[in-house]
């Protein structure tokens, strides 16, 4: 029997070997194959190792019993009657004069969370300010007729009027500050944590306002998020206005507290951020000007989320033990299960967001009418694409589509459907299945005013990116010890994995490795171009600007190219299946001068 001292030595040896393997970038598989675990073998020898197989190796498992919502929990939600409630239209966040006024340095005395000073504050003083608080609310996902009680969710709330889940409407060249108070309770109803950091997804945002996973703050504190609303290149390649080909349209914001992102977002901490570009006469928010996209009441954001409700209590349920991915059996859009929307015979812009946590969609219209796709990940495409065979939407991906109801029959019903089969949380199956209706469109008749919108032929050209100065490769895989890893590394909240030079252009190979799962990979900061998909030109829908690229499964691998302009600081890259993200498929990188 070794002494305590000898054991400490052995222990130190294992850990050194693990660190060495990390440093040498040996995969764990290689590490074990190379027989480097002399320390462990040594210890086991001390235990009197015999040749054995553990008892569970012989146990037979009912694999079918493991499918369903989550595997471990196998929960089936109470039934719902579809198309009873109207689709909730998300309210617009109101302007508010902030007291105390926002400051460049964190106002710790007033309750602001610690952060670095706002970058480029003096050049971009906020012209408009807003305030939201994150609170627990009672929310009815089911129609009243089903008798399922409301669930307690966590939502953003407008502090001016108490509107729940407001969306932000912002304009280019109009810097803003959004103050977000954490007013969440310690009691979580079973899942989630009242520590928050709000990420503006696809924002060209300074690091201290990006909502980094580690920069979370506690209840009864706030943070001022400074959004300059300038196009990439504004302080570098295309000063002073930025590259007009970098104009973005449909962004969203959500909680990003590491290890709890899946739970907190599932609980409701997500909404839209719409960025308008009237300054360049692009996406103006007015269908008489610019690209003349359907606007106002005819521009409707929809966040798709699949949920599970406890069959006994009817409360929103989250399986904390799941590592694979969580599939809901109820499809909520803007917080209602299978709602309806009254539409006129005219064109609509639908901004569709896959709000996760794990499900992929292949969206169709029930009458097999084509969608006119105008954006990828909320970035307007060079030209509209007609999509008649469905739109695949991974977690966190957004698509802006125009649906033309002009020729629909009065009183007809058309459904927005998902036809993608998905039987496991890791990712979708490679086949379609019986449609599930997500939203029922009820065609009323002619609109009160004539439709002034157009289906534009050309929108925003793709930016040209300089030759890249560096290529990096990232393999999104599962480690032998069952964790989701990038290059065999697990997320360490105290570590930056690599640094990039400000204003550099780089090429990143995003590899899916196995085909048993899908990873919708999201890179913060600047959207990228997919330059190569499985060795060839990407399909038309992937040729625009993107901030999520799915790899693995039938998606394969991707090569993306991007720049790191205008700001400094740290940003993550992660799988946006938030269960994978929380089970350590994330790393952080840093932009340095």
């Amino acid at each position: 029997m070794p002494s305590r001292k000898q054991l400490e030595k052995l222990t130190a040896k294992y850990m050194k070997e693990i660190r060495d393997a990390d440093a040498a970038k040996l995969s764990l598989r290689e590490y074990l194959r190379e027989g480097l675990v002399g320390g462990a073998a040594g210890l086991i020898a001390l235990q009197g190792m015999r040749n054995f197989r553990p008892f569970w190796a012989h146990a037979s498992h009912d694999r079918d019993g493991l499918t369903g919502s989550s595997g471990t929990a196998n929960v089936v939600s109470p039934p719902n009657t579809p198309f009873q409630d109207p689709l909730p239209i998300l309210p617009t966040l109101s302007q508010k004069t902030l007291t105390p006024a926002p400051t460049k340095a964190a106002n710790i005395a007033a309750g602001e969370a610690a952060r670095a000073d706002h970058q480029k504050w003096d050049q971009f003083l906020p012209q408009k300010t807003y305030e939201m608080e994150e609170v627990a609310v009672s929310e009815q996902f089911y129609p009243a007729v089903n008798g399922v009680p409301p669930s307690t969710t966590w939502r953003f709330r407008d502090t001016v009027n108490g509107n729940v889940s407001p969306l932000v409407r912002a304009n280019y060249q109009e810097p803003i500050v959004v103050r977000i108070w954490n007013r969440l309770p310690a009691a979580n109803g079973g899942f989630g944590i009242n520590q928050v950091t709000t990420h503006l997804h696809n924002g060209h945002t300074a690091s201290e306002s990006d909502g980094s996973p580690v920069d979370f703050y506690d209840a009864n504190k706030f943070k001022d998020y400074h959004y300059v609303n300038m196009r990439a290149g504004f302080a570098s390649t295309h000063a002073p206005l930025g590259d007009t080909r970098e104009t973005m349209s449909t962004l969203w914001f959500h909680d990003h507290r590491f290890d709890f992102t899946a739970a907190n977002v599932y609980k409701g901490l997500a909404s839209f951020f719409l960025l308008f570009s009237a300054d360049q006469n692009q996406d103006t928010g007015n269908e008489a000007t610019g690209f003349r996209l359907p606007s106002g009441a005819y521009d409707i954001p929809m966040i798709l989320t699949d949920k599970v409700f406890d069959p006994a209590t009817g409360q929103l349920f989250f399986d904390r033990f799941n590592l694979n991915g969580i599939l809901g059996d109820k499809y909520a859009v803007n917080g209602k299960i299978q709602p309806y929307l009254n539409v006129y015979k005219r064109r609509y812009r639908f901004r569709i967001l896959n709000g996760g946590p794990s499900r992929f969609y292949q969206l169709f219209l029930s009458n097999n009418q084509a969608f006119t796709q105008i954006s990828s990940d909320g970035n307007l495409l060079p030209a509209a694409i007609s999509r008649s065979s469905g739109i695949l939407l991974g977690v966190a991906e957004r698509v802006d589509v125009i649906v033309d109801f002009t020729n629909a029959a009065t009183n007809s019903r058309i459904y927005l459907e998902n036809r993608l089969q998905q039987t496991k949380g890791e990712g979708p199956d490679s086949q379609l299945t019986t449609p599930t209706a997500l939203v029922e469109f009820r065609v009323l008749g002619n609109p009160p005013q004539a439709d002034q919108s157009l289906i534009p032929t050309t929108l925003i050209a793709n930016p040209t990116r300089p030759a890249s100065s560096k290529t990096r490769s990232f393999d999104f895989d599962k480690s032998r010890d069952g964790l989701w890893v990038i290059n065999d590394q697990i997320f360490d909240p105290n570590v930056i994995s690599f640094q990039v030079r400000q204003n550099a252009t780089e090429t990143w190979n995003i590899d899916g490795h196995s085909r048993d799962w899908s990873h919708p990979v999201h890179i913060h900061f600047e959207e990228f171009g997919i330059v190569n998909r499985n060795g060839s030109t990407p399909p038309p829908e992937e040729r625009g600007r993107k901030d999520v690229v799915s790899v693995g499964n039938f998606h394969g691998d991707a090569q993306v190219k991007m720049q790191f302009r205008d700001f400094l600081g740290h940003y993550p890259m992660h799988c946006h299946n938030t269960i994978h993200e929380d089970h350590h498929m994330m790393l952080r990188w840093e932009i340095i001068p």
Partner: protein, 224 residues
Amino acid sequence: MNRRAFVIAAGAGVMALPFIPHLPTAPVFQARARTPEQRRRRAFPNVALLTHDGREVHFYDDLLKDKTVIYHFMYTQCRDGFCAPTVANLARVEKALKGRVGRDVFMYSITLDPKHDTPAVLKKYRAHFTRNPGWVFLTSDKPQRIERLRRALGYWRRDSLQDADPASHLGHVQLGIEPLERWCSAPGRLRAGAIKDYLCWMEPDGERPTPWMLADRKDRVRTS
């Protein structure tokens, strides 16, 4: 044809089918109320286990209820998996928690191999790593109890071959503040200091990370 194209082609087939909307047939739901205490208890199987000292304990009532805990699965004869390194790493976590283990934090190492890992075997194994009474090694004379616990706590794999492979068992540790229903997981092979951070950062009045941009970042960048 690549598989992506396959999805789209399959779509053309499905499109020919008529759409049948769901008909409202749902009965009115009768909700059962559940107190937070009931919900907390239901989240874990309250199986009877044996400690390395041969004491019988119940998993929820005796080990989790009202406590801050770290638990994971291991087995003493793990040859090419991560058990020994993980247990060794947890010994460092115990140190990093500076006297809290046994006072207000409890650690549990649950064997996956109860047939071999009797209390006596666990006791001997444990002695290599700790003398702290707050770190308990657990087994059972009824293997199906361990199996029930393993499945309920999510330490299984979908692939049954992998699930049965002793070297492929899941290597994460779960960290929780049971009365607050706050649970997260950390990889067992993460730096011990970071595992400690995962736990302490969850605590209402625990330590907090310094915002990265303000932190001393020396030694924390892995170059590549």
